[in-house]
Amino acid sequence: MDPASTTSSGSSRAPAAGYSRSPDAAAACGPPPEFPAGLRVLLVDDDVTCLKIIGMMLRKCLYDVTTCSRAAEALSLLRERKGWFDLVLSDVYMPDMDGFKLLEHIGLEMDLPVIMMSADDHKDVVMKGVTHGAVDYLIKPVRMELLKNIWQHVVRKKRFGMKDSEQSGSTEESDRQKKALEEGDNVTSGSGPNWRTMKRKKEGKDDDEEEEDDTEEREDPSQTKKPRVVWSVELHQQFMTAVNQLGIDKAVPKKILELMKVPGLTRENVASHLQKYRLYLRRLSVPQNQARIDGPYTSAQEVPFRSGGVVGFDLQALSVSGQLLPALHFGARRATDTGIGTPTFNQMGFLSSGSSANVSSARSSPMYQMTNRGLSYLSGSPNNIESRQIDQPYHLAQQHGRNTPLKVEEETSVFFNMPPSQTRPLFPGANTNDQLNRSLLMAMSQPGQQFSLSQQHDNFLGQSISRGQVLNGIEAHDSRLASTVRQQMLPYEISSDVSERTVNTLNSSLPGNQISSLYGAVPQSLNSNIQNRCINESVASLYPHSSSIGPTPMTGSVQTSSKTSNLKGISDLPPSYVSSQNKSLDWKMKGVNLPYQSGQQFGSGLNNLDSGSSPATYQDRNTINACTVRKEILSVRTEIEHEKVECISQCNTAVLVENSFSMKSEVLPDTKLQDAFYDSNIISNELMNVVGKQLQEGTGEDASELFDGYSLDM
């Protein structure tokens, strides 16, 4: 193999330079014949010496190496050539972006195996790598022998990724997360064939509940790099139907699976989707002050917002869209009264996020029952989220009419103020009504958003192209909210992690009030990986209509379809990794469970919270979890009056955790969130809060971190 395939930082593009491997193989079948030789590795390290040395080592192993010294560059490379790279090797400490953030982004958007490297061998740092989803962690100086075997991660991921149950080589701890993530990923990021299939389906059948479709997608043979379950609109509809039938409280993956009767769908798929949905619902239900949201979201389609508790639309969708929720929260935050509205919204957003750009207008409406709520929710997004951030999404959301996938993404990210990665996937309900958008926008505009919008924006943009698509689809609705939601979703789609984060961001952007909604988001970010997956999944399903946005496997159909499946059922989002399917608890609460990072911990904790339980408790749990997970992220919350908001931002931060950039470092979710939870909006609030908090924690930081210095349009 020609060792000269490496290129120095800047743009070493293997494909462009006539490498031995052809780029198109990326998405297709497995590794080239001479595997592991020719393995396409992207090496990211800010240290030139290391870059040179490790690059040479990799070439000696006959790998196809591309190098870059900036994380931003790496991300754009990855995005430009989606599917081209097999593996990413990244340093932990980089000036422009924390390696873990990059890891999350990659995990959310591309779901490539990422190996972290560092001269730092402290256990906690290594642990961080694990929790963020790295498939391996190498201590520098790296010996060539170690690099010789890195191909195993690629094979492993491909092999097991196809089965919807990733069993990467990560440690047991991350395994669960990864697993959860995988499932999430599988669902949402349906790469290649899956996505395409879904898209086709979606376009073909709007809101139809066709069981076969999904199966097809799911049964995508291992020819694709990462077969995933794509939660098409139809599939999601089925999901929601099942959840509604069971009741959000009692909706457990197993039963849902049985009810859905979709061949090829695994319990894990459903579980992660449910989780996302719950998050989504939570976010929606966060009572928000719509005030802000209303403004921007004028067009918000009036989703049959069922205020009054659970949002009318399917929480399921929401949960799935976990990410969406945050967005909703944003908006919702504003309108405290909306509260429940979110669910509706979520649905739309939820679904829409998954869907591609063509989200039909319908999307927003049904789901957007929450609208106000959701919007306010969103608006309330994490305190930290800077208002400008919100505004941005808002702006973008408004555009939802257009199909600009990228835009959407941007919007989403902007919207959520969360690190792009996060926001995008998170927003499942993009399609939801305008309200949703509105709320999102509002949320976004909420001050206190820590993440600089631009940053997030960039992040998102770069990251979730697919998201954009989803967004586009989402935009179908007129409601801006939808777009916003979409945005949220998009991030969600892209990377579970991201979505989580996004959710967080959303939360953060929401004016504190929407914390609950945020929570939905937050939790997600906490578990960056897991969340994202969940969200993605949920989002996908939420959006039956949304035309699959292209790449985002998420669901292809983020339809904001009015068919809001009753989100309520979602509460059970027991993420696979969360292991608890808390079902009965209000989905709100459950949303919290979402396994954000430690997600599982959270999730379990949260799940157990019954709606009946005092929100404080519940929140506490979440908070605690969140805190643990993302210490600093919580800071985001403080700004926002609503707890929820915090969640979102925090989640984001949490995801990144380490970097607490601009995000307020308040780190832990205070009880404020919990209080916020306890809003009249009840369930959603709680859920949202928890989620939001977590999200905030995770996202907040992440978002800020991501964006700091990372203004690249990734």
Partner: protein, 152 residues
């Protein structure tokens, strides 16, 4: 022969570098990477290292001279980078001293840091000199006789 005596000399120098702890195993790894396609790889990398690390040292020095409050975190980050680089080429003593510095940084012991920094600088300079000699000699010996692994 001149050649063999040079070789011997080279071998001895190299051995000393290792024995005295200036270099560690990682340096062998570098040598392994050198081949016909990249005959001067090791030297290139080492040159790159010294260039980059000099810059880092300057930054650290500047940071240390800053007025209070001392930003230990930043110092730590900078020193981490240096350590990272040093370890990747096998510069053992430099790396070790970087570790010491970082520990002192953790404790926010400014004075200790200053002293440690001086040591880092010193080790860095010494190694640089030694390696320069080494490569110079290596060049004299001739490309054919790259002293990779020889005479150890």
């Amino acid at each position: 022969m001149e050649c063999s005596s040079l070789h011997r000399q080279l071998a001895i120098i190299k051995k000393n570098l290792f024995d005295q702890g200036f270099l560690d195993e990682q340096f062998y790894q570098l040598e392994e990477l050198q081949d016909d396609a990249s005959p001067n790889f090791v030297e290139e990398v080492v040159t790159l290292f010294f260039r980059d690390s000099s810059r880092l040292l300057t930054n650290i020095e500047q940071a240390l001279r800053e007025k209070h409050p001392q930003d230990f975190h930043r110092l730590d980050v900078l020193m981490y980078q240096l350590k990272d680089s040093a370890s990747s080429i096998g510069a053992a003593k430099v790396k070790n001293e970087c570790t010491v510095f970082r520990e002192l940084c953790d404790k926010e012991n400014l004075e200790g840091c200053l002293r440690s920094f001086q040591k880092v600088k010193k080790e860095h300079a010494i190694l640089r000199q030694k390696l320069e000699n080494y490569f110079q000699l290596q060049r004299q010996v001739g490309p054919v006789e790259k002293a990779t692994r020889s005479g150890n």
